[in-house]
């Protein structure tokens, strides 16, 4: 049977991995290639690279780094950040990405998902959504979690899946960086609404948070985190052993 996936996320700026707490206060952690090789060795099931660069030079550095990673690491790679057009899909897929994650780009142009899915297949298109509770509803935020779009999140995600998104990353702004566990109510609402793989993001502080995620939400497909892996607060190999001990199917 299929395993639950553990996915480290690498935010890359100007060719270096950074991770903020609640999206501000960036810290330089390490080289993307070094980290990616390390994660691949210790059992990461997939890697996500977010390009948080704004400049054209930074984007070039990112694609160079991605190409280097993809020539050395043979597990699935997902790329996000700065994906606004089908040409952006093409740019990162040519560098060796397997899936492309869209966020603000899909909010600006809802046809992007449909166009990309038609050209590259649903399995290639990931909708990534930054969500925060506002006035008792789940609200979609854009621009790295800074701008309230006013859109209700569950209906937005359903629409993206109907348009061809083959996977959903749910990042809870409410729990991101707090390290007290994933946002289970928010994730449950998404799982109840769609039938494609859902990846939980935001809030993991310990191996126990992943165990709780997979136990309480048996249909969740993957857990994603950044800083706790980068700073080795949680070792993926230990986490996998813990999952198996708890009867959760994991790849070792």
């Amino acid at each position: 049977m299929i395993t639950k996936r553990i996915i480290p996320c690498l935010d890359v700026k100007d060719g270096r991995v950074v991770k903020g707490v609640n999206f501000t206060g960036l810290n330089d952690v390490s080289s993307p290639v070094t980290l990616a090789e390390y994660y691949s060795r210790c059992g990461a099931d997939e890697l996500v690279f977010y390009d948080i660069t704004a400049s054209a030079e930074g984007r070039k550095l990112f694609t160079d780094i991605l190409t280097e990673v993809a020539s050395k690491i043979f597990i699935p790679l997902t790329v996000g950040g700065g994906i606004n057009t089908v040409e952006d899909f093409d740019r990162v897929l040519k560098c060796g990405a397997d899936k492309v994650s869209v966020n603000s780009g899909a909010i600006r142009n809802p046809d992007l998902i449909y166009e990309a899915a038609k050209r590259y297949g649903n399995q290639c298109v990931v909708i990534s959504c930054d969500i925060k509770r506002v006035d008792n509803e789940f609200r979609v935020f854009s621009k790295g979690g800074r701008v309230d779009t006013g859109m209700e999140a569950i209906s937005w995600i359903k629409r993206c899946v109907d348009n061809g998104a083959g996977e959903v990353v749910v990042n809870s702004i409410d729990t991101d960086g707090v390290k007290k566990g994933f946002d289970l109510p928010m994730l449950k609402a998404v799982l109840d609404a769609v039938n494609v793989p859902v990846i939980a993001s935001g809030g993991a502080g310990s191996a126990a948070d992943f165990i709780k995620l997979f136990r309480e939400l048996p249909t969740i497909d993957a857990g994603l985190a950044a800083s706790i892996f980068h700073f080795r607060e949680v070792e993926i190999s230990d986490l996998k052993k813990e999952m198996i001990k708890n009867g959760i199917n994991a790849r070792i």
């Binding site: 099931d45 993809a70 050395k72 043979f74 597990i75 040519k94 397997d98 399995q123 494609v196």
Partner: protein, 203 residues
């Protein structure tokens, strides 16, 4: 030299890199002479069957690949490339494949339990049915990475390995010098590289 067939379907960067990583000389080509001179051929593919089959046919490479395979040249189909080895596929209609392995490609929908998500995406364990050259360096229970919504329905004698997802889905096939992997060896970590190593050295 190993030749990866380029017929305009999918991204061949990782596949090429993975053969390079295990020290094999590899080329990506749509030139029929390069295919004829290659020691082994890899047929990749992602996306929809009909589109890929049309592209392969219009490139004229379908007949080249079939004749080379029938002459004994080792051929490895990967993912959609594996599905194309069969007689036909029922993905959005009925479309002819290369006919190198008897069998058909059919949807998972309605066959696996409804609560399981389709596509079958992620890491799943291999259950070995029989020995084969390309599985010499891997073992029962090793995990490989799948992304597919259709699977190959064929005689048990061609199934080298299966993977359980509501039912046993065909994972590795073999008929004479023709091999196929439903999953992506180039995305399956060290296990995947070991399959490519075995295809390079043991076949």
């Amino acid at each position: 030299m190993i030749a990866i067939v380029d017929y305009g379907v999918g991204n061949l960067f990782s596949l090429k890199s993975s053969f390079s990583a295990i020290g094999e000389e590899v080329t990506v080509t749509s030139d029929e002479n390069v295919l004829r001179n290659a020691d082994k051929i890899v047929l990749p593919g992602v996306g929809a069957f009909e589109d890929a089959a049309k592209k392969l046919k219009s490139s004229g490479l379908d007949q080249v690949i079939v004749s080379l395979a029938l002459s004994g040249k080792p051929l490895l189909g990967i993912c959609l490339g594996m599905q194309m080895l069969f007689d036909e596929s029922y993905e959005y209609g009925c479309h002819k494949g290369l006919g190198l392995i008897p069998g058909k490609v059919v949807p998972m929908e309605g066959v696996i339990p409804a609560e399981l998500k389709i596509p079958h995406i992620g890491w799943n364990a291999l259950k070995m049915n029989q020995d084969c050259e390309i599985t010499k360096y891997i073992k029962e229970g090793d995990f490989v990475y799948f992304v597919h919504s259709y699977y190959a329905d064929c005689d048990e004698k061609y199934k080298v390995a299966v993977s359980e997802y509501g039912k046993d889905l065909t994972a590795i096939v073999k008929k004479d010098n023709v091999f196929g992997c439903q999953f992506h060896p180039e995305k399956s970590g060290e296990v995947g590289l070991n399959i490519l190593r075995a295809f390079s050295r043991e076949v």
